[in-house]
């Protein structure tokens, strides 16, 4: 009986530990999504550029799409955001595809006098134990 209690306690501890680890992981990737959200909302790429992976898949409306280095991605998205005046953005959907977190949401911009709705999709990947932005699409 004692043995069963011990094993049960150990299992509980393990489960708790695992859950905590998952929460920490989720908090970490949520931090990246929050940075993207705040950056797109303010039209300020510097708020999330630090999270770019070495190679980022970038797709912008009316622009090139493909894999770019983090420096290229920085300037491509900067140009995209500079040309627009942000009117509001937040992620509305968070999800996991094969343990890879992604988030989507609709951003509203003013572009050449028009209001423009752009769907933002961001997916992360893990690099050296940290969550980094692997894909970011404005479509």
């Amino acid at each position: 009986m004692k043995l069963i209690i011990h094993i049960s306690l150990m299992l509980l501890a393990l489960i708790a530990l695992n859950l905590t680890a998952q929460e920490v992981g989720q908090e970490l990737n949520r931090e990246v999504f929050n940075a993207i959200e705040s950056g797109v909302d303010a039209g300020d790429i510097d708020r999330f550029a630090g999270y770019f992976a070495k190679q980022v898949y970038v797709s912008t409306r009316g622009g090139e799409s493909g894999y770019f280095s983090s420096s290229q991605a920085y300037y491509i998205i900067k140009n995209f955001l500079t040309a627009r005046k942000p009117l509001g953005f937040s992620f509305t959907t968070y999800g996991f595809a094969d343990e890879i977190p992604f988030a989507t949401g609709s951003a509203l911009f003013r572009f050449k006098g028009n209001r423009e709705s752009v769907q933002v999709y961001a997916a992360l990947s893990k690099s050296n134990g940290k969550w980094v932005i692997d894909k970011i699409n404005f479509y």
Binding site: G66, Q72, A97
Partner: protein
């Protein structure tokens, strides 16, 4: 330095620039006020402004639309009136009609010609889907027709004969794409895009609901009319808002301010260089100019100029963007500006540094201090090298440019080559200077060896301390050795204080070419390997979440109530899958996919597929749950992403389902039909670097699958799978398998233990690498030569010289032309032949394929058109033969093994006019032509199908759509070798040209040098001739001639000397005689007075003594002047500071109260080698002359500066100048305008300055006075 700043400031204030500077600042300030005024006006008069802007928008849009229509209408009118077309329509001459229509292919839009019964007679160029003429009118008219995917502007123009319509010309232009379709499917310019771009605002068109303007608030409806004035439809745009208009105004004012700042910065740059041009030492001038250049550079960056103003490709970060230096390399264009400023700064400062190193050959430094300096310099050098290699690496890693793609580089890449060359040249120059500054005795090779050892030791320590250096120890050692040699050689090339001469420019340029090519090639290799690793990880990833997400989004868009209603109504849903696909992100991103819509009876009602898809055997079956799954076939070789969503009615009952499938074949990674994400990921360099890429899978170290079928039996287990590697998630190895060299990345699978996937890139042999390296060198060489040529033209233009070449250059140019032209011609023909052979091979293959299809068709059908149109049987033939094909009857398609693109109207259903003309009209059996979908070009082979009655029953069309990529790969491979070989041949031709030009022109150059030497008075010069040919005889004769001239010259000198002495004696006698007469008279007068015992003897004696003394003084002065003039060079030469001597000379004239002396020197330490007394006398002489020229009233300004390696002294007086008649005599002896001198003063000054190796000249003007300009060579402390 304070003196420098104060002078700079005074010059700045004096010039007009000062006023302009503040005027521009004033304008900038004013612009804020005006902007505020405009913003307030908009806020107050918003109603009126809104109405005016809306009216303007409507009229602009209508005019633009009208112009677009008029272009098409005028084309239609021209065709309808074109005589051969009228003749062919009236006479039914089909051949003439097709020939005539071909002329109009150059215009955008497709053209069709119909007869009066609306039967199609001929057509040219097909764009997209097939739309038939269904309306006619005796007058030209236009209308818009919406297809399922495209909208078209259609112009109809009657063809008249005797004022009666005998036919119609139908011009069709692409107007709009109804869906956000990927550009890969669009072959023609879209009007809507061009319209938006030219007006800079988006307008959406809707011609379906013609008579209704939008009632939505905030939308402007723009009515459009047809060419006959009838109403066509509306365009819509969002109405202006006050905020948007104010933003626009602010943006415009911001642009004005930016423009003013750019203007201001250019003025600062231009005038600062002018102000400092002659007033300060070269080194300070270089420093100031470089500093101003960099300030302007960063100012431009701050205002986002030119990137924000010129939206051209070289400023697009998708080509290249580096994080260096706050954005100075954020695009190719910005990098170009930075590299130009960098090379300008380095060359400007380096020029002075090279000379001063050359001059300061003996620095007396303490050994310890020297060692410390040496170590510091070596560390600085290593950081510079790191920076340089990091930039080159960034040029590859942060760019999507294809450096080793054998095609001719596009414009962006050429600019990138230029940038990298300029940066490399800057690095070579600055590093060489650093190394040279670390030691100064250029002839002591032991000292240089010590420098080398210190640098190497520092390099090895750097390698140990830095965990991941961008260069290896060997590379750094080679670079240090190379730079050291360049430094020593460059010093040898400095002649006449010209540091940047042709030889040094070539030396630094060629070194930069080699360095840039080497590091770029290394960076490409490194980048390819890292991309191979990333790519392997990407492939190993079980699910691509982006694809999964897109499928999910598409399912959401399609599985709607609207689809349920369509399923319920049992309407024709044939194209429904396509139209729904076209609305999704899958179509915009251009992914190959299949969309299937199933009804409630589990039956497929609509299906659409784009691109080649590997079919999953599993039949789509209706299910109530939504899911996205990934299937792997052939052990993960093929990945299928399948999304499934049920479609519900409003009452939640099941209406049907939608299934979306995206598949990717790993073995086909680099083929044109692989999905976009992989194509963009690898880039073109990948294709050029790796010959082929293979995918393999290993379980328990044993390979269970490989796409490399050739090596299937050889290649069985993971090599080097030791325990160290086993613990890693991925590892890179270089392997040789069956004589082939592979670079392979092994990645541990995340979904199965003991499973690895491997991606192997097959490399070419070493020769291929060498050729690639040479190819890069060739491009850098071309860039280098272009820069030299442009610089040469600029220098020639600046110095206003004629285009003159020396004999050797002429010979070299002749050699190069003679050798390069045949190479260019051969390479052109070789390439043409290669392309022709490839084309012939394609043709043969296509012919074989069409034959195979023909024989199958013959076997399967009786060649009746009814049978031919059986698509299912056509598909069966395609599957059994592995060849996709289409069948045409007359001009219309009747069956295709891939009907989806036709159903989607992406491909025209009508046969191409050329194919129809060649097969049907000219009766040819086989015909090949090039076609395109979007930007993708491919070949199509057409074969006539003849029935039993020997009539044309149909036309088979086989596209090479799916193997065009491999044909291109073969051509690229061939190009790599050819370009490399041509580079070698060109280099050999250049080297031989330089060698032979040098050899042939050598005797001529020796003769020229000898003539120059003799001209300068060196009669002992002899040409060292060893030749026995005509040129040798010429050299020998020249030497003999010089001997004779030398002999004659000596005789002449002797004679002249005698003559001069005679003249001198006469002159001396004459000059002495003049004062002797009054002396004699005075003595006689004194004697007489003494004899007469004159009462005033004392007075007479006093006067006589005074007279004699005065005349004796004159005699003394005459003697002194002759003595000075004729004095032999027994001077006491020492180093003296010029400023000090000048100040002493000025001091002597301080008693002249009416003369104002100004003394300015911009160089405190200017030492010359001179006899101090003699030089002082020379200065005194000029100053005295100046004072006398002003009648002892005015100002004398003395200005001292360093000009190159000389001190320049300007002595300016405010006298009346020197008259024209005597200007060329003032330096002659015995010439004087004064009564009391011998006229030897300025002659002596000239002789003094000439003897010091200097020069004296003057400028004079009767209004401003005279300036004597004296230049004397400077000496250094070590001389």
């Amino acid at each position: 330095m304070p003196n420098l700043i104060s002078n700079f400031y005074s010059q700045f204030v004096k010039r007009r620039f000062f006023y302009l500077f503040f005027f521009i600042l004033f304008l900038i300030a004013i612009s804020f006020l005006v902007e505020n005024f405009f913003v307030k006006s908009i806020e107050i008069d918003w109603e009126t402004i809104s109405i005016e802007k809306t009216a303007l928008l409507i009229s602009q849009s209508q005019n633009h639309f009208q112009n677009f229509q008029n272009d098409a209408a005028s084309l239609a009118a021209r065709i309808a009136r074109y005589e051969p077309i009228v003749k062919s329509v009236s006479g039914g001459d089909e051949q003439l009609l097709f020939q005539s229509l071909k002329i109009f292919e150059v215009y955008s839009g497709s053209v069709e010609v119909y007869d009066s019964e609306l039967d199609l007679l001929g057509w040219s160029k097909s764009i997209g889907s097939d739309i038939k003429l269904d309306r006619i009118s005796p007058k030209p008219f236009s209308y818009i027709k919406q297809g399922s995917i495209f909208s078209w502007l259609l112009i109809v123009h009657p063809i008249l004969k005797n004022d009666l319509p005998i036919g119609y010309v139908f011009v069709k232009k692409l107007f709009d794409v109804n869906y956000p379709l990927s550009n890969r499917f669009i072959s023609s310019e879209i009007f809507e895009e061009a319209f938006t771009q030219s007006l800079d605002y988006p307008v959406s068109f809707d011609f379906s609901d013609r008579l209704k303007a939008s009632e939505v608030k905030g939308v402007i409806s723009i009515p459009f009319k047809a060419i006959d004035g009838s109403f066509l439809g509306y365009g819509y745009r969002q109405a202006y808002t006050k905020g948007a208009v104010i933003d626009e105004v602010k943006q415009n004012f911001l642009s004005v301010r930016v423009f003013l700042i750019i203007f201001l910065s250019l003025f600062v740059l231009f005038y600062s260089s002018k102000i400092v041009h002659t007033r300060v030492r070269f080194f300070y001038r270089a420093l100031i100019t470089a500093a101003v250049l960099w300030i302007v550079r960063f100012l431009w960056l701050a205002i986002d100029f030119p990137t924000g103003f010129f939206p051209i490709s070289i400023f697009d970060p998708s080509y290249f963007a580096s994080g260096f230096g706050f954005g100075i390399a954020k695009s190719i264009g910005e990098l170009l500006i930075t590299s130009i400023i960098l090379i300008a700064s380095v060359v400007y400062i380096g020029y002075d540094a090279l000379i001063s190193i050359n001059r300061n050959s003996k620095l007396n430094l303490n050994s310890v201090i020297w060692l410390i300096i040496l170590i510091l310099i070596s560390i600085t050098f290593l950081f510079l090298l790191r920076g340089y290699t990091a930039i080159v690496n960034s040029g590859v890693f942060d760019s999507n440019l294809s450096y080793i793609n054998p095609e001719f580089p596009p414009f962006e890449l050429l600019i990138m080559y230029l940038c990298l060359f300029l940066i490399s040249a800057s690095f070579v120059l600055i590093s060489t200077l650093l190394i040279l500054y670390s030691y100064w005795n250029k002839n002591n090779y032991l000292g240089w060896l010590f420098v080398f050892v210190i640098f190497i030791v520092a390099s090895f320590i750097y390698g140990e301390l830095h965990p991941n250096p961008l260069t290896s120890n060997l590379e750094r050692s080679l670079i240090i050795s190379g730079l050291l040699i360049i430094g020593i050689i460059s010093q040898k090339f400095i002649k006449h204080s010209k540091a940047i001469n042709t030889k040094n420019a070539l030396l630094f340029g060629m070194s930069a070419v080699l360095l840039a090519a080497y590091f770029l090639f290394s960076a490409v290799q490194f980048d390819m390997r890292s991309k191979l690793k990333s790519f392997a990880s990407e492939v190993a990833r079980p699910v691509d979440n982006w694809i999964a997400f897109m499928i999910d989004e598409a399912l959401n868009q399609i599985a709607t109530k609207e689809t349920a209603d369509r399923l319920k109504s049992h309407s024709d849903l044939k194209n429904y899958a396509f139209t729904e696909w076209a609305k999704t992100i899958l179509s915009r991103e251009g992914y190959n996919c299949r969309v299937t819509i199933i009804n409630g009876d589990d039956r497929i009602v609509s299906n659409f597929q784009v691109g080649s898809m590997t079919t999953i055997e599993q039949k789509p079956t209706i299910r109530a749950s939504r899911s996205i799954m990934v299937w792997e076939e052939e052990e993960g070789f093929v990945k299928h992403y399948v999304g499934f969503a049920p479609i519900f009615f409003e009452d939640k009952t099941l209406a049907g389902a939608v299934r979306i499938e995206v598949s990717a074949t790993r073995g086909e990674l680099f083929r044109s039909d692989s999905y976009e994400i992989i194509k963009t990921y690898t880039g073109n360099d990948f294709k050029a670097y790796y010959k082929k890429l293979y995918y393999s899978e290993f379980i328990n170290d044993w390979r269970i699958y490989t796409s490399n079928r050739e090596l299937a039996s050889v290649y069985r287990s993971i090599p080097l799978a030791d325990s160290l590697l086993r613990n890693k998630n991925n590892f890179f190895v270089e392997e040789i398998v069956d004589g082939k060299y592979f670079e392979t990345v092994y990645v541990k699978s995340t979904d199965q233990q003991n499973k690895y996937i491997a991606l192997s890139g097959e490399r070419g042999d070493v020769v291929r690498d060498v050729l690639n390296f040479l190819r890069l060198s060739l491009f850098f060489l071309v860039v280098c030569c272009t820069i030299y040529f442009i610089l040469w033209l600029v220098i020639i233009g600046y110095r206003k010289r004629k285009f003159e070449f020396n004999f050797r250059t002429k010979l070299l140019i002749a050699f190069i032309i003679v050798s390069v032209i045949p190479i260019i011609v051969i390479s052109y023909y070789n390439r043409e032949i290669a392309t022709q052979r490839a084309s012939e091979l394609n043709r043969t293959n296509l012919e074989k394929q069409t034959d195979v299809i023909y024989s199958h068709i013959k076997k399967s059908f009786s060649l009746k058109s009814d049978y031919l149109s059986n698509s299912e049987l056509i598909s069966e033939i395609a599957i059994s033969t592995g060849i996709d094909f289409s069948l045409y009857s007359n001009s219309e398609i009747i069956a295709s093994s891939k009907p989806e693109l036709l159903d989607a109207e992406i491909i025209d259903r009508r046969i191409s006019p050329d194919a129809y003309y060649n097969i049907k009209i000219l009766g040819r059996q086989f015909f090949v032509e090039s076609q395109a979908i979007g930007t993708f070009e491919y070949l199509v082979g057409y074969q006539a199908v003849i029935n039993k009655q020997d009539q044309l029953a149909g036309i088979i069309a086989v596209p090479t759509l799916y193997n065009q990529a491999s044909i291109e790969e073969d051509l690229q491979e061939r190009n790599t070798y050819l370009l490399g070989v041509y580079t070698i041949v060109l280099l050999i031709a250049f080297s031989l040209g330089i060698f032979f030009a040098g050899q042939i022109s050598k005797p001529i150059r020796r003769l020229t040098d000898a003539a120059i030497q003799v001209g300068e008075g060196n009669f002992d010069y002899k040409i060292p001739s060893t030749r026995r040919d005509e040129l040798g005889k010429l050299e020998q004769t020249f030497n003999e001639m010089i001997d004779e001239i030398s002999q004659k010259r000596e005789e002449l000198i002797k004679y002249e000397k005698e003559l001069a002495w005679k003249e001198m004696a006469k002159q001396v006698a004459h000059e002495i005689k003049n004062p002797l007469t009054p002396i004699k008279l005075a003595v006689q007068h004194l004697q007489q007075a003494f004899k007469d015992k004159a009462d005033n003897f004392d007075d007479i004696l006093k006067k006589a003594v005074s007279m004699i003394t005065e005349q004796v003084e004159t005699l003394t002065r005459i003697a002194s002047e002759f003595s000075n003039f004729g004095r032999l060079p027994s001077r006491k030469l020492e180093k003296y500071e010029v400023n000090e001597i000048l100040k002493e000379a000025i001091h002597l004239f301080e008693q002249y109260n009416n003369v104002n002396f100004k003394f300015n020197s911009f160089a405190p330490e200017l030492r010359v080698n001179a006899d101090k007394e003699e030089l002082r006398r020379a200065f005194i002489n000029i100053i005295r002359n100046s004072i006398q020229a002003m009648n002892e009233k005015g100002s004398v300004s003395i200005f001292v500066e360093q000009v190159d390696e000389n001190v320049q002294i300007n002595i300016h007086d405010t006298g009346q100048g020197i008259s024209d008649e005597i200007q060329n005599k003032i330096f002659e002896p015995n010439f004087s305008t004064k009564t009391d001198g011998m006229g030897l003063g300025l002659a002596i000054v000239k002789k003094t300055i000439d003897d010091l190796g200097g020069a004296i000249s003057f400028t004079t003007d009767k209004d401003t006075g005279t300036t004597f300009i004296i230049t004397i060579p400077l000496v250094t402390d070590n001389e």
